[in-house]
Symmetry: C2
Subunit: 438 residues, 2 copies
Amino acid sequence: MDKNKVEPKTLPGFMELLPSDQIEFNSIKEKIQKSYEKFGFLPLDTPIIEASEVLLAKAGGETEKQIYRFNKGDNDLSLRFDLTVPLAKYVAANFGELSFPFRRYQIGKVYRGEKAQAGRFREFYQCDIDIIGDGSLSIMNDAEIPSVIYSTFKSLGFEDFTICINNRKILNGLFKSLDLEEKSGDILRVIDKIEKIGKENVIKELEDEGVEKAKIEKIISFIEIEGDTDGKIAELNKLGITEPVFVEGVSELEQVVKMIRTYKVPDKNFKVDLTIARGLDYYTGTVYETFLDNYKKLGSVCSGGRYENLAEYYTDKKLPGVGISIGLTRFFYQMKKENILKDEPKAISKILVATMSEENIEYAIGVAEAIRNAGINVETSLGDKKIKAKFKYADKLQIPYVAVIGEEEVNQNQISLKNMQTGEQETLSIDEVIEKIK
Amino acid sequence: MDKNKVEPKTLPGFMELLPSDQIEFNSIKEKIQKSYEKFGFLPLDTPIIEASEVLLAKAGGETEKQIYRFNKGDNDLSLRFDLTVPLAKYVAANFGELSFPFRRYQIGKVYRGEKAQAGRFREFYQCDIDIIGDGSLSIMNDAEIPSVIYSTFKSLGFEDFTICINNRKILNGLFKSLDLEEKSGDILRVIDKIEKIGKENVIKELEDEGVEKAKIEKIISFIEIEGDTDGKIAELNKLGITEPVFVEGVSELEQVVKMIRTYKVPDKNFKVDLTIARGLDYYTGTVYETFLDNYKKLGSVCSGGRYENLAEYYTDKKLPGVGISIGLTRFFYQMKKENILKDEPKAISKILVATMSEENIEYAIGVAEAIRNAGINVETSLGDKKIKAKFKYADKLQIPYVAVIGEEEVNQNQISLKNMQTGEQETLSIDEVIEKIK
């Protein structure tokens, strides 16, 4: 290449897709959006850039290091690293204008300067829903969320997935009853790893944290509670822990499970998992993680939970909420890698209207317009390329049909329709073509 | 407010809408997208952050000053300021994988640190389509673009708009014939202002530029060419300018006009405007601007044109293209301000399913599910709020129907449906409700 040229490279950690992949990606994104809208969530689209003071009101530690932060003129600015902080700002700023419970979805890009490695993205889509209460928020909402997750993953074509549910109060209550509250953060972090590192290593790490053996035994016997959803709840009630936080957590979990069934989420698609903690200080009640049964190694593909107070850094108003997030960019990357993408479209146009010669252009434009008016995406190829080249183009773009328009077709007011998959070609009227494609 | 709270403010120049406005905005954005897809344009979604070296390969002057540019680690990064430079990078980088003509649309946010003032945005959506040829690109594409503009604005509910068309070669050829090529940039800049500053000031400014009087006269008589589309073209042919660039421009314009009619764009919705130049060095052939007939002061709401070479900074390949852009954020702001927004939806949910008491929850969830399965967005209100409060909530969210579910409804397997606009309430079966809402 010419030395004066700049190499047209895209930054590592930034997903940029070829058109056929982008079509799949957009199809999935749209299905998630439609699914969220089916349940009446309202759209938001907050800025990607915020004042650092606003965005980092709460952040700290690892998150803050990853932030894209910079000055423009006198302004200290940052790119959003999630959609929750902007939501908190938004609700605090527009409190008087909103109706509560405020149900919103937002699907947008967020930015984290993570170490670049396969499957880690610095720019990625999050698809969030949250329900925010003014002062209080009914536990009913904690049960509706799994029904949205269920409906969303069904709409993506999945059957075998499990929404795992827990309640942070159960864990917190357990630690309180063991007088381990101060260590709860560390203990949770260790417990969270049990699937990865195994029971023996969890015990070892808890010992390293200075937890007494008797207490470790209680913790382990708690997280080893077996059984189906109802069995686990029964076991929890049998533990005899009278600590009020624990009792409240079990009661909430019971209510949520009962309501999830009323929402007709099949027992096959949800379960109680007492080890799920989800972050250390943010969630305060129900928590969710979602796994594809046959691809557990992908980790949770949709997570969230209940929090006490959305916007405490911006307002005195108490705003409890419950929500979930799908990290779509990573999920899409994983689905492509594991080849578990369901039947998504690969083309925008359903048909390419191609002329044999210049004389047929007017007729071809009329055909294209008629098919478009029936709600079908149509591309035209009216230039003087050979028809073979036009077939090749349609094939490369995975357009399923080509309408060949020659002198005969024009004279007979017909279309020669080629099915690009079977190679079959037949002569049809415009209406028959529309019928066929729809 | 508590002194420890951070003020939840959004940066000036960044549009952040209330939900009902956001629903309208999204509806318009989706209509534009659907319209672009109707013509078979492929979606792209390039990163918002690019390496400064890549993004600024061409930029300079005013644009560069407005750029959000910063360092992260060792990397010199910038936020995209349009969707054309990322397209150029993309096509150069993925040349071998793409099919030409490469037809893509991109709808996304771009960033310019402009002076904050009403109607000026630092973060705004552009909705672009471009058709890129490999080596050459048929003039047919220059004619298809106005048919896409026409279809798009029709889909937004507009009738009275005019797509103004010109060809840069005509202007360039004129200047060449007058031996004013070197001053063409300055002259174009002056001509471009004629609507704003008037003929006398244009003459004065041209004199200030040092253009001879005789030449100014020729320029003025050129831009004053009157008549309808065909009349203007006839006048151009009568000027007797033999400069080949000029002749080619007039010929291209003639072809484009002829084809636009074949594309069935009504004469009412397009015209030749010989004063349109669109930028000084980027466009090289056909150029477009689009005006709402009754709101000309809004300026062009959709502009673009033909360019010689998309990606010369990245590749030796010659990639001519033609495209347009709608600056959606500004357009939406203007439409709201001028109150010319067409009939866009203001609510996501078509119906709120509200229970009278806890006993009705299961039935209500079944009702909501049945309506959702018919493809209708449904919100539920199952909490123990009074029904009056639920009506008020629906009213505030502009949800058109409320299904009231009480004991009687459950017993009779019916729904009491309230039309929130008329206040009318009637008892219907689920199927009747679905029929009604659809």
